[in-house]
Amino acid sequence: MNISEVHTEVKKFFPEKISDVIASGPLSFFYFEPEIIKELFLVLRDKIGMEFKHLSYIAAVDNKECFELVYCLYSYRWGNVIHLKTRLSRENPIIKSISDLFVAAEWHEREAYDLMGIIFEEHPDLRRIMMPDDFEGHPLRKDFKEKDNYHGIPTSREKILGKF
Amino acid sequence: MFEISSKILDYFGISSDFSVIVVVLVFFVYGLFALTFASLFAGITSWYERRIAGRMQSRIGPNRVGYQGFWQWLADGLKCWFKEDIIPKDTDSVLFRIAPYFVFTGVLSTFVVIPFSPTIVGSDMNVGLVYIIAITALVVAGILMAGWASNSKWTLLGGIRSAAQMISYEIPVALSLIVVIIPAGTLSLQKIIQMQGGAPYNWFIFHNPGTFAAFFIYFTSALAEGNRTPFDLPEAESELVAGYNTEYSGMRFLFFLFAEWMNLYVIGAIATAVFLGGWRIPGIAYEVQAASLWLQFVGFIIFLIKALLLVNVIIWLRWTLPRLRIDQLMIMCYKYLIPLSVIMILLSVFFTVIYYSLPFLSLAVRIVLFILSLIVAGYFGYRVYFNIKYFPDKTYLRWMI
């Protein structure tokens, strides 16, 4: 079942909340509204014929106007892979966690929270994962500015070459 | 040593007023000899083990210091000697300092009863075996002290593991030695050796099936008691960093290693004395050997060769086998080794009684067991030949690299 078949199948459940299939370069995907995430992924995971039981990764993308979350799902039974996207506002990037459906999602969501600052509701353990606990800011955002120092340690280096 | 002191007293005609001084002096000299022997053995074995390990692992091993790297052990010892003796903050510093000496003394004290030849022995106690089992308990105390006093969770876990393991494995060690005590009828190591013949089929290991099995039970449990692979859980470097000696450095750390390598000789020597005929020379009666200085020296060499062969086996095992888990270790001790050794005691009693009425059976059993072990040794040799032949890389089979 490729992406267009999945799309028609899912469209029956959520006719309003799902965009058309978009091809961007070699990759095809469709957008969904963030509020239906749990129902959508439940359908995708458990509906006979789809059975996308393996969440490969969640990528958070800073699109300048908004944040995008990319979900990649595998179906080992039918041997295919799909990509789904959703948009979140920059001011209030909140979405429901799907870590109760996919255990793998837990850490990917933590990573998205840490590096992009997206907040996942109902997440069991939403902490920073890569950065230290006291780090300020979310480094993968396009408007991220590195602080001058971290606990008194300067983050930039004196330019030696210019001196001579 | 009392015999030698009295001989010296007689020879020089020293009056009884000064005899105490002479006896103390003789014992002091012997103690020095034992300490030197043990230390040299520990040092040289550390080099030897690393060379063997290198061969087994397709690498060279230490070969820089002196001929074939022989003086490596001395270099390492010197290095540790000059290192700073770090005592971490917040440790129980008295216990921390004292623990290595407990371990060292515990192992070294066994040299009091371990014989070298018919007359050269610290003290031929009539409770020799019991003394060995009792005195090695000092090692447990030392390791537990080291683990506790270091004030680190890893050392504590290592210390507790090691205490559990060593105390448990003292039981099968003692029981498997009892199997031999029954036919021997004595606890003195010298008397046990004296009762065995020089030829292999006269050894206690082939006395009856019970003693035959007891040898392997003893060997396994002694490995576990000495914390050697596959039972080196207390210092399992992949789990507990380095176990009870994590926080030690310099000479104190070296004392633990000293004890470990000395313990190799102790394991080998006890097995040799109790099961493998000790210093007996085939075809020469005990009285003749005891009277001649040269034959005593030959006996010493024979004893050493037998013990070293066993040490070799221990080293092989260490570099071949993985390590057990703590629960598997305890299961092996309490569910298998202890019941097995109790059965072997019964078997030994049975055979000892039967041999009184049927003396020819004794010889038959001995010869059958001897042939059986020859077959096992032959199979082992065949496997070694097979493995060497099978793998094309012959670089590491050269005599010296």
Partner: protein
């Protein structure tokens, strides 16, 4: 929530809190576990990652497409070839370039050599964590020969930087082919048999690994496990077979899966044996690839300044640690807009956290080693 708050949240009486790592002999790099143990039995081993976080994904946004290839080596230093391969495949898909046949074969040869090297380390270090030192050094001995080959092939022993967009950087010659054949002759019957005699069939190793941290097929899929870890649970999924890329369809090989060799399906021992079998299959692939190697170019015609059109791509390869994927967004400039790297070790760490509950401290070591964790892959 900080780490401290997380620990206080679940704290119980009579527990010791062991800090395993970042410097610990058996945590394969700088991984840290906070072990809550009740005696020898663990309540939980909480992974704390991030000690090797270098922000490769952020670096990608400031680097040209070709300039990012050396960075991909550092994603997984034990199997750098796969990271190279997945990334250049993604860029080629974006550009729509056809790679010459010879280059594809060279890529397969390099990757399979790298897979053997990586598995040798994985198996050896697992044996070492269980206490057997010798198999590790035997593995290193064989890996040294592979390193010699890759050194002749691309000039580097660990971080190769071998692949280029549109092909590979250097051609193979007869000397290297002879060396590969020599290695394969020695490896396939000889070394594997010796290794199996020495450690795979060793009763103590079997006892230590059997029925430890069993991951069932459903769990493995849900945890997001990939590669040998997934196949050990009995799921026959290999990107080389199921979503073929490069020239794998032209090569014959089996996909070994866990069958419960000595215990349950998906235990640590299955993960060990599956890796041994995978090495055999890799050697078989290598034999075919070397004999079938076609003549021709090794680099397609690629513009000097790579400027892919706007678009997105996800390209994944079957690395030694499972699916290694690059999700690349191009906005039409010389630098990628966003690169997301999907690695196998990241999800395996989560699986370790779940599976560690209730086993012995000694088993945690087996579990970490059997999942074949590599620290830079987790943190990136």
């Amino acid at each position: 929530m900080t780490l401290e708050e997380r620990l206080n949240l679940v704290k119980r009486e009579n527990e010791i809190l062991l800090n395993m790592g970042p410097q610990h002999p058996s945590t394969h790099g700088v991984i840290r576990f906070i072990v809550r143990a009740d005696g020898e039995i663990m309540v939980e081993a909480l992974p704390v990652v991030g000690y090797l976080h270098r922000g490769i994904e952020k670096l990608a946004e400031q680097t040209p497409y070709t300039g990012f290839i050396p960075y991909t080596d550092r994603v997984d230093y034990l199997a750098a070839m796969f990271a190279n391969h997945a990334y250049v495949m993604g860029v080629e898909k974006l550009l729509g370039i056809e790679v010459p046949k010879r280059a594809e074969y060279l890529r397969v040869i390099a990757c399979e050599l790298n897979r053997i090297a990586s598995h040798l380390i994985a198996l050896g270090s697992m044996a070492m964590d269980i206490g057997a030192f010798t198999p590790f050094l035997h593995g290193i001995r064989e890996r040294e020969l592979i390193n010699d080959i890759t050194e002749m092939l691309c000039g580097a022993r660990l971080t190769y930087n071998y692949m280029r967009v549109g092909g590979v950087s250097k051609d193979i010659d007869d000397r290297i082919i002879k060396k590969i054949n020599d290695f394969l002759d020695r490896f396939l019957p000889g070394f594997i048999d010796e290794f199996n005699r020495l450690i795979t069939n060793n009763e103590i190793l079997v006892k230590r690994c059997v029925n430890i941290a069993t991951v069932s097929a459903d769990e493995a899929i849900n945890f997001g496990l990939v590669g040998p870890n997934l196949r050990a649970s009995g799921v026959k999924w290999d990107l080389r077979k199921n979503m073929p890329y490069s020239v794998y369809p032209e090569l014959k090989f089996e996909v070994p899966v866990g069958e419960g060799f000595r215990g349950e399906v998906g235990d640590s021992y299955d993960r060990f044996v599956v890796r041994v079998k995978e090495m055999e299959e890799s050697a078989r692939i290598l034999k075919q690839a070397v004999s079938q190697l076609p003549e021709g170019e090794i680099l397609a015609k690629v513009p000097k300044r790579i400027k892919p059109p706007k678009g997105e791509v996800y390209s994944a390869v079957e690395s030694a640690r499972g699916e290694l994927g690059y999700y690349i967004i191009s906005d039409g400039t010389e630098n990628p807009y966003r690169v997301k790297i999907r690695t196998g070790s990241f999800s395996a760490m989560k699986a370790i956290h779940i599976k560690s509950q209730g086993c012995f401290i000694a088993d945690l070591v087996v579990l970490i080693a059997s999942m074949d964790i590599v620290a830079p892959e987790i943190d990136r």
